[in-house]
Subunit: 660 residues, 3 copies
């Protein structure tokens, strides 16, 4: 937070929307590079990422350097008006590193080595790895820092690895010593009095390796925090090197949204540009709302325009059944990202690999070549983005609602030996955000300790772990006139995963009008519970309401008959079940309306998404059937260049970007 | 068997039913201890188990001792009239043990270490572990042997671990040398002539570690026997220490019923008190009969009153979806245990942990505190038990039927590469015991070599492995006038898992009137086979009946059309399939009636269980709807203190304890 | 191919059909041997395989030899007219080998050791193992090479093991150096430019061990090739030893069809006799066609008569639910193998083991003994085979159709990170072969580089990987007047798993009339796609037909509406989906008819299989209901010895072997 404000995405985008992708020319002969450049221009590509997987090429043997090929490419890009996001290649060390320094290879909880032959086979805690990574970064920054093609730095790739080995164990102990100071404090925080786990010296503390039965959950939680921090150390070490050479060039690393390895709030503070990899599944009917979640989250991390670092022009290769994107979907989903704040739409990757583990992952220029549908659609999209870029880039999005999310709360709740393995944090978060999305209510994401005073309504789908400061913050928010809606398993545990007295923070219980929380009643898969006017899923609770409660909706029938499923005390709401989707949508819409929150547009046909960005209104038809959206007055559709009056016709996967 | 009879449960219970639970005060500040004592008295708690997971607290560094806190607690309990079951803490060694002595950590069949950070991370074969365990046990016994609070010793906890590592391998070889004497005998017993497994020296013999294909099944069987015996050595070593100090104080360790690690018959002989952990699933409609099975088995192991060492006041935390017990169920199921012979009803644990791996496991005093429903119900139960204890404690239960069970038979049958992985010993045992339970026929369990002459009927659901002595015993039982009913896969193998000639012991084939057993025909999941008057599941057999057979019920249709599904020769019955539940119930009831066996009560409404203990009749309504049980004459219900005439009304989960 | 033609199966069979099985007498006392011989004669057994698992018996301690028992058995067999297939025992080393030489034990990709205690615990790359294997083979050959009982050598058993350990890694590097010559060539072939996998020295190259994410697929492919070649080296080393002693005695090893470890085409060239283990599942309604596939494939590998080395007289023990063969099925399926070219019908094993991991695997003489149904049926079959042997043995089978199959294509396509994990090579191959089998069209299997000119029609269900030479061969075949039908994912990749330009070899696209192959569209499980006149499953494709196309059948509805599902250009057909079974059968039948291919017999009732071998017609009724097969003219049924006119009545599982 107190890092001085550095360069930003606009410094690279310069009034345009960036459009391009990862470019791995080392897989191709030089003549192909020239065809690539020609086709990039044809498609309107203005940015490529170079060097993500080039370490073995740049440093074929320890300490050697081969930069000539990259010099050629940097020049070639510059000569053709394509900016370069230059990557440090540190996500995939060359084979020689593991061979000469086996201690750089990570180990899983069972002790299995993760060998080279894939990627990401580096221990975040390895001093040797870090030394080599710093050296290559230093040399890249020195050589290309002043190259005119350079527009951004991309550090490593999709940080996500765990290591349970011995060097990581030593690092974990250092990290814990920093966190807790004394062994007594660690023993207290981890509750080691249970199961005879009290540590008598730091040397006895290990990562959570395979145990006979359940691992200590606080140890597991801290190991996740440690992992995020170690990876962040790797990131900042490289970032500091390039920033020293090029203080004016923004730095990013690409997140994998809702992956487990990184505390995204903390990481975003250390980046100049927040970028994300965005891979909704075209076979998933809920893909547009899943994508919207990632987009809203990323925008909230960025606090402004952000970057799609990777998406797929067609199918991916890592699901069970990988279908391509049907005609029009690539364009629609790209425009959705722009609508929700992206100023850069990039792909993995420019040209589809003919070899290796990702040769079935699609690309802007697929195996079918320039005649292929994928490339033809990429060209069209490039033209669209060029058309709207000037009016869109740099503009912001307003939201009256915040969805609270915290990686630590997720990690803490996602433990062995909990009330229900059916409860998945991501699914609950998605259910709540999706309910708002269905209502065309624009929302941000926020950390529970963020300043929430600007929002009319704040929802907390499942903040299992809440610090004292976060509880303070929520109480102050409601006291200040805000409307708070919380879901079950909120405020259950403190920062160390210690259950709050009474099973929920007493101040929160008071806030919501909960008297006694007798029991959690998770529901078996497929079962639901009847409530007043709706069905609940996944979870229910045996609660006595306090006298102070303002309003309840009761369970009907079963063991909980008559007990409150939903409680409200003044402006604070608590949902002790997960209402089925339509009911959750309607309930949140009702509460939002009461808090003065309005949807982007009334009367939207099903499947049509509406977002206001800057002065523009984006309309996106996620259906295959054409629709007409009623829209009073006259607007200009920037995409088609035509004027529309009192309604906008959208074809299959159609979009409009409307200026009043 | 020839161990001198020592102290018994009655020495601790002293005419009461023990009521209480595991108490882990080291998790709480001292002020909480005083609240605990106050609430224990409020709830009628008269016993707690201390020290199960206290090793790291008692011995924070190797050889050090910290007893002060435990002194305080022992005194506090005594001062408040709460007896103490004092545990040896050896189920969970402190972290320093693994750190300083890595060889104390077990390894699984793949070679993975089971690290500290959970519990039970000790190798039963480790000399170092055993030395430390003996030392702490010695010191505990010396210090508290004469403390007036001490009522019982609880050794270790839920013994269940396997070790495939090198020290265990050496111990396995010693155990095998004891069993077989010569390498030739081992080679013969294991059938090593097959697959070229002949051992040329003892050093070549290993635990059954990961193999390319199927492991030798006799080796696996002996490894299970060895594991049970090693764990038993750990138990008896500690038992002998405490017994030396306190010959008058009974000793127990808590079994996990139908878990795989222990030969329960052999273990029970080494205990003064047989105790068990009892965790039926409130989501399972068959939970009451599953519980009855464990209760009958434990009573049979104890040959008298026994102890519920652990149950849950509400939900557990290790299933997928863990629901609490609905209102009344904790009381009902506790009374069921008493009805079936328990003189102690205890919980894991007294106060719910706020931290650690079991903080979602319920407790007598849950997160909701004294106002929570769980605690309120515990109080009621405490009062109930106090009310009936004087008339119940120490009394016995009569049974005319024995269900044969042998852990070795189970282990032997549960092998890789068998006719059907659908056949699970526990499920078959449960189907047979459940059929008798449904008919309100009280039964004991017995080992196939036990004296069976006191029973009118003996059933053998699936004794895949039978020793020659066991076959002798069964033949003698029938010769002596007993009625024997056996299920498929009985008498298939001898003590070394060697298939008996003809696929079933020839004397048993003769006993049942089986001519040729051509083929086993296991059924695919979900399929059944039509028989004369009923459906068979899971299994069928191609059999020619012998001329001597008295009666058969035939298969109808399919490949086995006309062949016998059920054979009887005089008083010996054989079922070559598993009849569906209703059919099995009716068939066993018919055979039982023929053998002169009567149900506890005729005309019981569905879902009502009836058991006679001592002079009392327990009636238990497992349904949520109220019922009336017709009962001629006048009885006093000890629970309500009211008299009932010609019928007993039982509400939802209601119970009555009736004295004529 | 250029190995001099050696002895053949006929040298062992001598005008008979060999009938017998694995015989493991070391499990039994000597008196049993004499009973065995008596019963073998009763059953018409004329061959047994000795010694497959006898290493520990023959060499109880390193370097020792115990041959006496085997001398006795060889003499006993000879004295009773039973020929011996003598096995080298090298599939299961004695325990002392792993104990004294741990480096002989294989490791899996995670680094886990495969210990002794099962079988096949040898590393193909271990010099120590190979030395011991050669020594025992040498001594066996020297001792028994001139024994009159000896008719064939059986090397090892079911070669199938992988090893990822260090000695295998060194061997892998040697193998790669032989294949590629230079590290540059390896880097090119493996596409190591992607993900920074470029190797700077040979020492860095490893087997594909556990990686963080996807392994390099070309590395995995080469590891499979290497594994096949290492195992083949083990085979040829032993073969060369025995062939030196007995150049006149044929040598075999038993394949496991469609298992992954061996390149069957290459292996078959190194064998005198091709033998196979044949285990269709009696619970699988498609078992007869699965068996036919294995039989056709084995015959094609053998290029003449072949040997069933192992089948089960009843059930096996390695499936989930293992049912025996119903009455008549053992005979029917044995005759099917003979119909499709087998001159030897053998079993694992002669006498069912009473101990060990396979005691539930059936045998010719099962647990039920001589009175058991299994043995009675074996006797009948022995008589049948003796009756027909003289007219059948040595004769051939003609086929106008070839199904192309290549293990390398399978291995290459079976990679992580591919378009659809639902696509299984074996299932697709089986669907195509099964469609032809349903139409009573006899077919061979062929390698894509074989001379195909003798076939009227060639089908390529899924040759994902095709070398340039194979493409040349297919083009030449069509140019020469042949009809080619290819399924999707044919010609996708080159010999290194490098995607061909445009996603399919351009010459093949031209051949089939494919313009642009835009996208692969795999279908989710259970979904299908409508096509003109049929339904497609599993897969579909977005294709523009070229102008040159002769005929198409289009997709109907959905994203691919109107695009070609089936394309034909002249005599070259391409199916971009997998038609549902009936449609595939009819389509292939139509194409076959157009190519002049005739079924064996017209008007066959459903479930009846017809094959012509030599001058005989085999009719096999796979149904349980009796049928009559119309057959003009008069034939003699060799099995029954009766004449039939204008039709053949076949009972349940009935068979006829007809001479015109």
């Amino acid at each position: 937070m107190d890092r001085p404000r550095g360069p930003v995405l606009a410094d690279a985008a310069r009034g345009r929307i960036l459009f391009g992708g990862d470019y791995n020319p080392e897989q191709w002969p030089e003549e192909t590079w020239h065809e690539d450049v020609r086709l990039m221009k044809e498609a309107g590509v203005n940015t490529v990422t170079l060097g993500v997987f080039s370490w073995a090429r740049l440093e074929p043997r320890p300490g050697e350097r081969e930069f000539g090929w990259l010099d050629t490419l940097m020049d070639l890009m510059h000569d053709n008006g394509v900016g370069v996001v230059l990557a440090t290649p540190t996500a995939s060390p060359p084979p020689w590193m593991g061979r000469l320094h086996p201690e750089t290879l990570p180990r899983d909880a069972d002790g299995h080595v993760e060998w080279w032959g894939g990627r990401q086979h580096f221990s975040h805690s390895s001093a040797v790895y870090r030394r080599y990574a710093a050296a290559i970064t230093e040399d890249l920054a020195a050589r290309y820092g002043s190259h005119p093609a350079l527009t951004m730095w991309h550090i490593n790739n999709e940080y996500c690895t765990f290591d349970h080995g011995d060097e990581a164990a030593a690092a974990f102990r250092r990290w814990l010593r920093d966190r807790y100071g004394t062994l007594d404090a660690l023993n207290t925080a981890w509750g080691t009095a249970f199961w005879s786990q009290g540590y008598d010296c730091w040397e006895g503390v290990l990562p959570p390796r395979r145990a006979h039965y359940l691992n200590n959950p606080s140890q597991v939680l801290d190991f996740r925090r440690f992992t995020s921090d170690m990876l962040l150390e790797c990131f900042t070490a490289e970032r500091d090197i390039v920033a020293r050479h090029t203080p004016h060039i923004p730095v990013t690393t690409n997140f994998m949204p809702l992956w487990t390895g990184q505390d995204g709030w903390r990481w975003a503070e250390e980046e100049d540009v927040v970028s994300v990899d965005l891979y909704p599944d075209s076979l998933d009917p809920l893909a547009p709302r899943s994508a919207a979640l990632v987009q809203d989250l990323t925008r909230s991390q960025a606090r402004g325009p952000w970057m799609v670092m990777e998406q797929a022009a067609g199918g991916v290769n890592w699901r069970g059944v990988n279908q391509p994107k049907p005609r029009g979907l690539n364009r629609l989903w790209s425009l959705q990202a722009v609508a929700r704040g992206a100023d850069a739409v990039c792909y993995f990757q420019w040209r589809q690999s003919r070899q290796g583990a990702e040769k079935f992952h699609s690309a802007m220029l697929g195996h079918a070549g320039p005649r292929g549908r994928a490339f033809q659609e990429v060209k069209r999209l490039g033209a669209d983005l060029a058309r709207i870029g000037g009016e869109v880039a740099g503009t912001g999005i307003g939201a009256d609602v915040a969805v609270l999310h915290d990686w630590h709360a997720w990690w803490a709740g996602d433990q062995q030996g909990r009330p229900s393995t059916e409860v998945e944090y991501g699914a609950v978060l998605s259910a709540w955000h999706g309910a708002l999305w269905e209502s065309a209510v624009t929302c941000d994401f926020a950390h529970p300790e963020h300043d929430l005073s600007g929002y009319r309504m704040v929802v907390a789908p499942q903040l299992y772990l809440l610090t004292d400061a976060a509880v303070d913050n929520l109480l102050a928010y409601v006291r200040g006139g805000g409307t708070l809606v919380a879901g079950f398993l909120t405020g259950t545990a403190d920062q160390d995963d210690r259950i709050r007295p009474g099973g929920m923070d007493p101040r929160l219980r008071e806030l919501f009008g909960i008297g006694v929380l007798h029991e959690w009643w998770p529901l078996p898969p497929g079962e639901h519970v009847d409530c007043e006017g709706f069905s609940g899923t996944l979870w229910s609770e045996e609660i006595d309401a306090a006298d102070t409660v303002s309003e309840t909706l009761a369970y009907r029938g079963g063991e909980l008959d008559g007990m409150p499923a939903v409680l409200r005390r003044d402006r604070a709401w608590y949902l002790s079940t997960l209402p089925e989707p339509r009911a959750l949508r309607d309930l949140l819409a009702r509460i939002a309306a009461g808090a003065g929150v309005r949807p982007v547009l009334d009367g939207l046909p099903p499947g049509v998404e509406a977002v206001r960005r800057g002065g523009l209104l984006f309309l996106l038809n996620h259906g295959r059937a054409p629709v007409t959206v009623p829209l009073p007055g006259r607007h200009l559709d920037l995409l088609s260049g035509t004027a529309v009056t009192d309604g906008v016709a959208l074809g299959r996967y159609g979009a409009a970007v409307l200026r009043p």
